[in-house]
């Protein structure tokens, strides 16, 4: 048995060779938080939300392969405090005014805030200046809410085969860019049916003329159950 199991918080977890720690955990019904991971796309390891301790060393569970005998810590007060700090930093880096956001209640960043009991973003707000791009007839980009997870970049490249999105700049200057002659979404090859439109985990890529009609308050996905209940991929927000 030792060859095909590792442990998560001291529980034995089976895996198949090649599976990442995150995939094996999901298959076993154990939640490891993630923001830039999507089951249909190649892992990117950017957001660090899925950081776990593998034999005492921090690793991203979405990229780290499971190996026999590994001892993995997932749900510890220290890791959870770090995850809360990550969410806080993502909040102050953008302009996240949830009461006015169409994604509220179905947003993975917000849901992670709830999961880790973030009561305040805590750090000094950056209030960055970012313009909305509403040039596309059916889709708008609210750059104020983009967390640079690169899911749209990967989905557009690997699923839609269009390469509509990219990340430019480094460090705190990193930002999402649109591949079109004008840099505007309306002049790109994006269609509202693209997978890239649906994978955005936050309220950055928004389908027009939907607004708050998706579900009333109380009926939204994370009103009903926390994001940590989403271990079954087929029932999670990612599958929508």
């Amino acid at each position: 048995m030792a060859e095909t199991t590792f442990t998560i918080d001291e529980m034995p977890i089976p895996f198949t060779p090649g599976q990442t720690i995150l995939e094996a955990a999901k298959a076993a019904g154990i939640y490891i938080p993630h923001l830039c991971y999507h089951p249909e796309l190649k892992a990117h390891g950017g957001c660090k939300m899925c950081t776990v301790l593998v034999n005492g060393r921090p690793q991203t569970a979405c990229t780290q392969k499971a190996a026999a005998g590994q001892e993995v810590d997932v749900d510890t007060p220290e890791l959870n405090a770090m995850r809360r700090t990550l969410v806080q930093m993502l909040f102050i880096e953008g302009n996240h005014f949830c009461p006015g956001c169409e994604k509220s209640g179905a947003c993975q960043l917000q849901a992670l805030g709830y999961e880790y009991e973030m009561l305040t973003p805590h750090f000094v707000e950056l209030y960055p200046e970012r313009k909305v791009d509403a040039s596309h007839p059916d889709v708008l980009i609210e750059f104020n809410r983009c967390v640079l997870c690169e899911l749209c970049v990967r989905a557009s490249r690997d699923i839609d085969h269009k390469e509509v999105f990219g990340i430019a700049g480094r460090g705190r200057d990193a930002h999402l860019v649109v591949n079109s002659p004008t840099g505007k979404l309306g002049d790109s090859a994006l269609a509202v049916t693209d997978r890239a439109v649906q994978v955005c985990p936050v309220g950055a890529i928004i389908v027009k003329r939907v607004g708050f009609a998706a579900a009333p308050i109380g009926e939204r996905i994370y009103d009903k159950s926390p994001i940590s209940a989403e271990v079954d991929v087929n029932e999670s927000s990612e599958a929508r």
């Binding site: 009461p99 009561l119 707000e125 209030y127």
Partner: protein
């Protein structure tokens, strides 16, 4: 600690609404009949509910709204100086909220755009000494004074306010159940 007679010492609460919409205070009133229960154990200092203009030493101060003008700065400093525990209540107090949407705009440009003489169309920004000066931005309360606790929501529900407040009054670490923790 004892006062005359048998009367128990009550918890003193102060509340204020700064750059907010008063929604958090309305939500506070949504604790409904529990207000009677609260009145048994607490009394109000400075608050829109009492109309006391300046607060004295108190136990808990609840602040709704962000800090958008010079008067707001004086108010939060007064509450901080007097309250043992200061709580930022609601989205605006916590991250500026919707009023902070103006933070990317120039104050002068906004004022001269909004205030125009109806006859001439020229800018005529109100300039009464009664009016507090707007700040360059709307600030979260914790960027002006130290905040002990934050109670998120837009507004937090009456149930969330009740849970938080009773936890504080009873000396417990305030904690919100999943259903009471919301940013909207």
């Amino acid at each position: 600690m004892s006062t005359a007679g048998q009367e128990k010492v009550k918890v003193r609460l102060a509340t204020t609404s700064l750059a907010g919409c008063f929604g958090c205070h309305m939500s506070f009133l949504d604790i409904d009949e529990r207000l009677f229960e609260l009145a048994e154990i607490a009394e109000f200092d400075r608050s829109p509910l009492t109309d006391i203009k300046h607060c004295g030493p108190c136990d808990i101060a609840l602040i709704e709204g962000g800090v958008c003008n010079t008067d707001n700065v004086h108010v939060v400093r007064e509450l901080r100086a007097n309250a043992k525990i200061l709580v930022a209540v609601g989205a605006c107090a916590i991250n500026g909220g919707l009023p902070a949407l103006r933070n990317k705009l120039d104050v002068n440009a906004i004022l001269t755009q909004v205030y125009r003489d109806p006859k001439t169309g020229e800018p005529c920004v109100p300039n009464s000494p009664e009016l507090p000066l707007p700040l360059d931005m709307v600030y979260p309360v914790n960027e002006i004074v130290r905040v002990d606790y934050s109670l998120p929501g837009c507004p937090p529900s009456g149930d969330a306010i009740w849970k938080f407040l009773t936890d504080l009054i009873l000396g417990r670490m305030p904690r919100l159940d999943y259903s009471l923790l919301n940013y909207d």
